[in-house]
């Protein structure tokens, strides 16, 4: 039985961290779940959508993180428990609304799960979202293992209701995507009733209108909530201490770093010398617990990801408590004992502890990394990040790159967020020259398109995926159209949120649970703004480049929708459109006139260079049958024929 539906309390499952969070939410009787997909958070809503019918939950892929929080908030003030999930930078998007939610307060338990990505394994930033808790004055939890991920989630809803405050719960990639044992609890009844009461007096948390005003009064109330949180956290079972009563060194840690710290102590066999304080409630910190902990040792090491959040918060308390806890030597990110950026791992903690304690321990030989890299060279070829075989983005960037180069006015492309972010790399022919947050491609392009008066005559192109379009690009496109900015806005429409796993978005006709919804046509949206809209099939190389060259001669905001379904889309069912092969008698290989154009420049992984015979060959196993390479071969050696059904 799936852990989603198992009602037998006490059963143990091997669960991914995100699954544990889902189970916790189910055990808390969550009524509404909303999110915008983003690694490493996406599985939370995906799994909840599977349980939506049986557990009576409304699950929604919202247009963006801010709207996701708004949707979940509505449920909360209608008396339901709600959960909202996002990746680290989603909190930035939602932060404006969150600032006001903090002030207005909540009713039904409301939990915001934000999954950070230390090391930027699947991100283009290494944002540290914990600081938002302090900035927004919201309580923050950090589960330290998989069981806690489940238990803490379930508990967070009650905490939210007790405080009448949204509760932030932060995960990281190595918790969300790693797996561990989790013992499940009971599932509550599924009958839930939503009513929004607003006819009580202003300021009544249960029945009054829900507004942030009067601000001075509500801000005091908010601080009181944090004060109450501090008191609750003093007794929280999620703050644990492991080690001797008076260790030589105390590690203060949280989240996945707890696991690294415990492993490091074990590896060093230093259990008798090192204690580990694992904090589950990292904002606001419980001062008495901190005082007690600081009194244990003269040396304190902070192990956390990414920035020194707890380190700095504890140091403030230590300064305030200096008279009682004495002088402490602190080690962490600020003094360089632990790297300020990147992912942590047990070796980093081992290294730090060994230095502080004077233990000689080398987790691996000094030259291990270099030797391993050297050995790998003989075992596997160097592989760049690249688009999948048959990916429409390769064809799109091919067309954009070539049209810009042929146009010959140093035009360039502003990028956005999706698989196509790889467009700045050789797989995208280094076409993208800027890449920032979602929707910022058209925003930046809108700015570039107004620099004519300063002599800038380079054509400005920007690319944006269909999901990103709805998420954050529309206001910037409105800006570009309204301000008559000279930009070509290219919508790379691959019919889904491909990068995070084909979640639906407002342009697709299904909801999170597979039910039909009206799909919104991006072209109609663009036209309604007054932009000219054209379509191109990126697999039609000549047609698309001709359209682009023509558009580059025109002014104002022009929209070109490059429509072609993602090669991996479930809707394609892995079916090839073309059988592709190379006529080896026609292929001119390295000779003048080609110089391995397909395998050296176009570089679809489905094309392989055979150095012995001096010809290109098609790897039939991975070729997706898009047929684009047949269009780019200068000799006509790559032949495509309609694949048999």
């Amino acid at each position: 039985m799936s852990y989603l539906f198992d009602t037998k309390s006490g059963t143990r499952y091997l669960m991914m961290g995100n699954d544990a969070i889902v189970r916790g939410a189910l055990e808390a009787g969550v009524g509404v779940a909303s999110a915008y997909p983003g690694t490493p958070s996406s599985e939370i809503i995906e799994q909840l959508s599977r349980a939506s019918r049986e557990r009576n939950i409304y699950v929604e892929w919202s247009v963006n993180e801010k709207v996701a929080v708004e949707v979940a908030f509505a449920a909360s003030i209608a008396g339901l428990r709600s959960i909202c999930a996002m990746k680290q930078n989603g909190v930035n998007v939602a932060s404006d609304f969150l600032l006001h939610v903090a002030l207005s307060g909540t009713r039904g338990g409301m939990v915001l799960v934000h999954c950070d990505d230390p090391g930027a394994l699947s991100s283009i930033n290494e944002g540290e979202s914990r600081h938002f808790a302090r900035m927004l004055e919201l309580p923050l939890l950090e589960p330290g293992d998989f069981q806690e991920a489940k238990d803490m989630t379930a508990w967070a809803f009650g905490l939210s209701e007790e405080l009448r405050s949204l509760v932030m719960m932060r995960s990281v990639t190595r918790l969300s995507h790693a797996s561990g044992n989790v013992t499940i609890g009971d599932l509550p009844p599924t009958d839930k009733k939503a009513v929004f009461r607003y006819d009580g007096p202003l300021g009544d948390p249960d029945t009054g209108p829900v507004v942030t005003m009067p601000v001075p009064k509500n801000h005091v109330l908010l601080q009181n909530k944090l004060k109450k949180a501090r008191e609750l956290f003093e007794k929280s079972p999620f703050n644990t201490y492991t080690g001797p009563e008076k260790p030589e060194l105390l590690i203060i840690t949280s989240s996945a770093c707890n696991l690294y710290s415990l492993e490091a102590v074990r590896l060093l066999n230093a259990g008798g010398r090192v204690g580990v304080l694992k904090l589950g409630t990292t904002w606001p910190l419980p001062p008495e617990l901190i005082k007690k902990s600081l009194s244990r040792a003269d040396k304190i090491l902070f192990v956390e990801e990414v920035l020194p959040f707890t380190e700095e918060n504890v140091k403030i308390l230590a300064a305030e408590m200096a008279a009682e806890v004495g002088i402490i030597k602190f080690y962490g990110k600020n003094d360089g004992t632990i790297p300020m950026t990147g992912e942590m791992n047990p070796d980093i903690v081992v290294d730090a502890c060994a230095k502080i304690l004077g233990i000689t321990y080398s987790p691996m030989p000094a030259d291990y990394e270099a030797a391993a890299q050297e050995m790998l060279k003989t075992l596997s070829p160097v592989r760049d990040l690249t688009f999948c075989p048959g990916c429409p983005h390769r064809a799109s960037f091919w067309n954009i790159h070539n049209a810009l180069a042929i146009d010959n006015r140093h035009g360039f492309t502003c990028g956005d967020i999706g698989c196509y972010t790889l467009g700045f790399l050789p797989c995208g022919f280094n076409t993208m020259k800027t890449s920032h947050s979602m929707g910022s491609g058209i925003g930046i392009a809108s700015g570039f398109g107004k620099l004519k008066q300063f002599g800038m005559d380079q054509p400005i192109v920007t690319v944006c995926g269909d999901s990103t379009f709805f998420h954050a690009a529309i206001p910037a496109l409105v800006n570009a159209v309204h301000n008559k900015s000279d930009v070509i806005f290219i919508l790379l429409d691959n019919s889904g949120t491909a990068m995070t796993g084909f979640q639906p978005h407002p342009g697709t006709p299904l909801d999170a649970t597979g039910h039909e919804l009206p799909d919104i046509d991006p072209a109609a949206v663009c036209r309604s703004l007054g932009a000219t809209v054209e379509y191109a099939d990126p697999f039609d190389i000549d047609g698309t480049q001709t359209a682009l060259l023509r558009l580059m001669e025109e002014g104002g905001a022009r929209v070109l929708i490059m429509k072609q379904m993602c090669a991996l889309s479930p809707a394609k069912k892995g079916k090839k459109k073309f059988e592709v092969r190379v006529d080896e008698n026609v292929c001119i290989g390295e000779n003048c006139g080609c110089n391995r154009f397909c395998t050296r420049i176009f570089r679809c992984p489905g094309l392989v260079w055979d150095p012995e015979r001096g010809v290109a060959v098609v790897d039939e196993v991975i070729c997706a049958g898009c047929g684009v390479c047949a269009s780019i071969c200068p000799s006509g050696a790559i032949r495509k024929t309609e694949a048999r059904a």
Binding site: A405, I406, N408, C592, G593, N595, P634
Partner: protein
């Protein structure tokens, strides 16, 4: 001549501002493309040598080699180059009245050569609005569609390369001087291909003092001329100092100094006014608007002219001595100015391995176009 690759070509010609957009490096491979008169390298090609470099008329072209290819004798530096005869010429009674620049001599000869299968294809340069568009023409009746001057640089040789790729063996080309020089290099088989045969059957050169940068020319005319309504353009002889643009909606005059500002730098290094490496060269006939000056340079050029006259496509007459002298003086002036400019910038016979604009014999250098 040493043949290098596209990277050297870009550095020596395009980045140095010498490119005239003739198209010699285009349609050979997928790396180089021509658009709006400009040549662009789409991706780096790592080959140490390539046809793009070998065909370019602006790398270190050895004019002796080119001259030996076309005429079997070295380059002399004479103002009008090697020639057999100079005539006045115009279209004959077999030619329908067309939108000719002057006498219709080029159209007449190309029509004749296609009609008589001397050519299996003709590479001409027509016009789409203001934009010059090279075309491969196989029907004699279609030649006149490309008549009249464009005044903008056109990648005509790219269409020639395309015609070669399509398998045409006897190609006729109407070429500006730089294009004719590119063709001379192509004909010299610089890549030492086995079983090479000269793909040209007739190169009709046209006199050229400069060709405009298409984009800049278009910008100059935008707002003044309906580009899609252009019928013909002309620069009347001095002292008019103007360009006339004939459109469906009337004639627009542009002061010549404004037009000259749109001449690309690369034309300033050109020492050839009369397309010296063509089989025959055609240009204005000073003082006449219904006739051309025709320079016959090679035997096959002479054969084409004689045949066209015989069959009524062309009429020829003697060109007054005074006209010849004026022409030689103008051509000599262009040659001298270009050589002085190129030499002053170290672009003649560098010997340093750098790709100069031109390689000349020491005698020719001494003559300096005189």
């Amino acid at each position: 001549m040493k043949v290098l690759g596209s990277n050297e070509l870009i550095a020596a010609v395009i980045d140095a501002g010498l490119c005239t957009g003739c198209g010699a490096c285009v349609s050979l491979c997928p790396y180089l493309k021509s658009h709006d008169g400009k040549t662009a390298l789409l991706f780096p090609c790592t080959r140490p040598e390539g046809r793009c470099f070998a065909y370019c008329p602006k790398v270190e072209v050895d004019l002796d080699e080119a001259s030996l290819t076309v005429f079997g004798k070295p380059y002399t530096g004479e103002p009008l180059g090697h020639y057999i005869d100079i005539k006045a010429a115009r279209a004959g009674h077999k030619m329908k009245k067309g939108n000719f620049q002057a006498g219709g001599t080029v159209s007449a000869i190309m029509t004749y050569a296609l009609q008589k299968k001397i050519l299996d294809a003709a590479v001409l340069t027509g016009r789409d609005g203001l934009r010059p568009v090279p075309r491969i023409v196989t029907s004699p009746a279609s030649v006149a569609e490309s008549a009249s001057s464009n005044y903008s640089a056109a990648p005509t040789v790219s269409a020639f390369n395309q015609a070669m790729k399509e398998g045409y063996k006897r190609i006729g080309v109407v070429a500006t001087p730089c294009q004719a020089l590119a063709l001379a290099q192509i004909r010299s088989n610089p890549m030492k291909e086995k079983n090479f045969t000269d793909p040209t059957a007739l190169v009709a050169g046209i006199f050229c003092t400069w060709a405009l940068d298409y984009r800049r020319f278009r910008k100059l005319l935008e707002g003044r001329v309906d580009l899609n309504a252009i019928i013909k353009m002309d620069i009347p002889p001095p002292p008019a100092e103007k360009m006339e643009i004939f459109t469906k909606n009337g004639t627009v005059e542009i002061p010549l100094p404004e037009v000259r500002e749109q001449v690309p730098e690369g034309c300033g290094y050109c020492f050839d006014m009369t397309a010296e490496f063509a089989d025959l060269s055609v240009g204005v006939h000073e003082g006449r608007t219904d006739s051309n000056t025709l320079i016959i340079r090679t035997e096959r050029g002479a054969d084409a002219v004689n045949g066209a006259v015989r069959d009524g496509y062309l009429e020829v007459s003697d060109l007054p001595k005074e006209n010849r002298e004026h022409l030689a003086a103008a051509a000599g002036n262009k040659k001298r100015r270009a050589m002085e400019k190129a030499a002053g910038e170290g672009l003649v016979n560098t010997g340093s391995g750098r790709c100069a604009a031109v390689r000349l014999s020491s005698i020719t250098v001494q003559r300096g176009g005189r």
